[in-house]
Amino acid sequence: MMGTTASAKIIAIPIMEKPPEPATSVVTEVPAQAPPATSDLPAPEPEPIPTVSLREVFQGLLAKFTRDRLITALLGGMSIAALFLFWYFGTKYRLEFYIRFKNVPTPNEVFQQLTQVGLSNKYLVNIAISVRRILTGFFIAMLIGVPLGLAIGKYPRVRDFFMPVMEILRPIPAIAWVPMSIMLWPNNEAAIVFITFIGAFFPILLNTIHGVHSLDQVLVRAARCLGASELRLFVNVILPGSLPHIFTGLAVGMGVAWVSLIAAEMISGQFGVGYFTWEAYSLVDYPAIVLGMITIGVLGLACSGIIRMVGILLMPWLAFAPGGKR
């Protein structure tokens, strides 16, 4: 009696493990009358495979997203509107409560400025030059920072050699490099790119190192057991495993790069959005100051948005990672 119940119980266990899909996934095929295994050897059981209706999953996701997104968009719009209203009423009534709106241009004045200057050659050239400087400095920082970070993270000896220098240079803000940079580089353009590079470099380097260190060691072991050589380990395990942290570094680095670039342009520049803003201040052209600021904000937003998008495209698996890295 005991034996039969036990065996019956065991046979009835369906090998069915649902993937943690959203609740909308429809799992069909429950083996209602699982035939009692009669053969001696239980051949690799034809497992009941949870079949998921793709359409329903998508519909569920869509419904969730649109609802979520609607609220997100609403809150986002409200926060921008609040800032705008504060500016609008502040300048309309010329508020003076410690901060002074006396000289601040109104939104309308800035808009006028945009329509006049906005499409002028000078303004667009300034933007183009700033973007070129950012991209050059940022990509050089990435090309040096990521491989160096991987090497420092992987090999203690490389770390021993490079980290003391890095730790001394890191606390020096990029702006403090301006005089040295002007001395060091043959022309103004190279000096500004160098300062942008300095700003982007350290966040990228440190996050890459952190990415290597936080990589689960069992993955490295597994790769070695599967015959991965040192170089292949880097390309196939350490790099993709560190990628989420590398992208954090790239996003932070991009932000610091903009800060550094604008400061450098204001101090030493010809051309560039920072120079445009500072020049407007010198010429007492108040609406142009605000236009310059808004331009910097939009460009910075666009750059970090691009990095985030590339990250999503390169790391599709993160959508399923526990804790939702995204």
């Binding site: 065991i10 072991r221 070695r224 599967l226 993709p240």
Partner: protein
Amino acid sequence: MSLAEVETQKGFIDVRDMGVTFGANDNKVIAVDNVSLNVQPGEFVSLIGPSGCGKSTLLSIVAGFVQPTHGKATLDGKAITKPGSDRGVVFQQYSLFPWLSVRKNVEFGLKMAGVDQSKRNVTARSLLDLAGLLSFENHYPDQLSGGMKQRIGIVRALATSPQVLLMDEPFGALDTQTRVVMQEILTNIWQQFKISVLFITHDIEESIFLSDRIYVMTARPGRIKAEIKVPLPRPRRAEMTDTPEFMNLVQELKGLIREESLAAMGPELKDRGLSGFGMKVGPKGVGEIF
């Protein structure tokens, strides 16, 4: 699929007079002391013992992650010095690469060996079919349950056709139901591949159900305390766990392990047993509590 009747059976693991010491001087810890064991070609051998007895260390040596302090480990007569694809390893923690799809995970070893894409694809798909997970080939590991991940871990280790499979408590993180099923799946796969297996566990029933032979280890420093043959017929079925032969083996192993588990908790406990500490089954009355 069956690679039946391989004439020259390979996969002979031989561990001789193995000793492993960690640290130095005052912090010196003897993890494994004078252990000799072997796995015959095509044999399923379990290593069982209390936690911290050095059984995982032993497996790490055979896998090639750790070098022994003295003694040596060989595979088919060749000394083991570093990890390699001739030894498939399945870890207790899920060790699938989260950035690769299920199929790419299974293909990984073949890719490292320079096998071209179309061949990799065919091998990986047939192995996934064997694991009953072909329909999940394009999923990412994070979309799967623990039992699924571990099945993929097993077939991934088999993809490069290793001579031996080393398993370090592979089902330790699974729930009891899944575990029972996984054990049956593993015996099936093992019979199809005719591969030598060294299996680490602390689960007595699991070791009996799966193995041809079981080595029992002592508490630290780990030594081989007993070697037990499992005479149960093959193929093994889940119902066998209710037979008297099975139960007797469980009792025998329980006796051997319990002593070591007590020893692992401290020498005083071993000498006196639990009752030696004046532990009682329960208070007899209110007066005894206060």
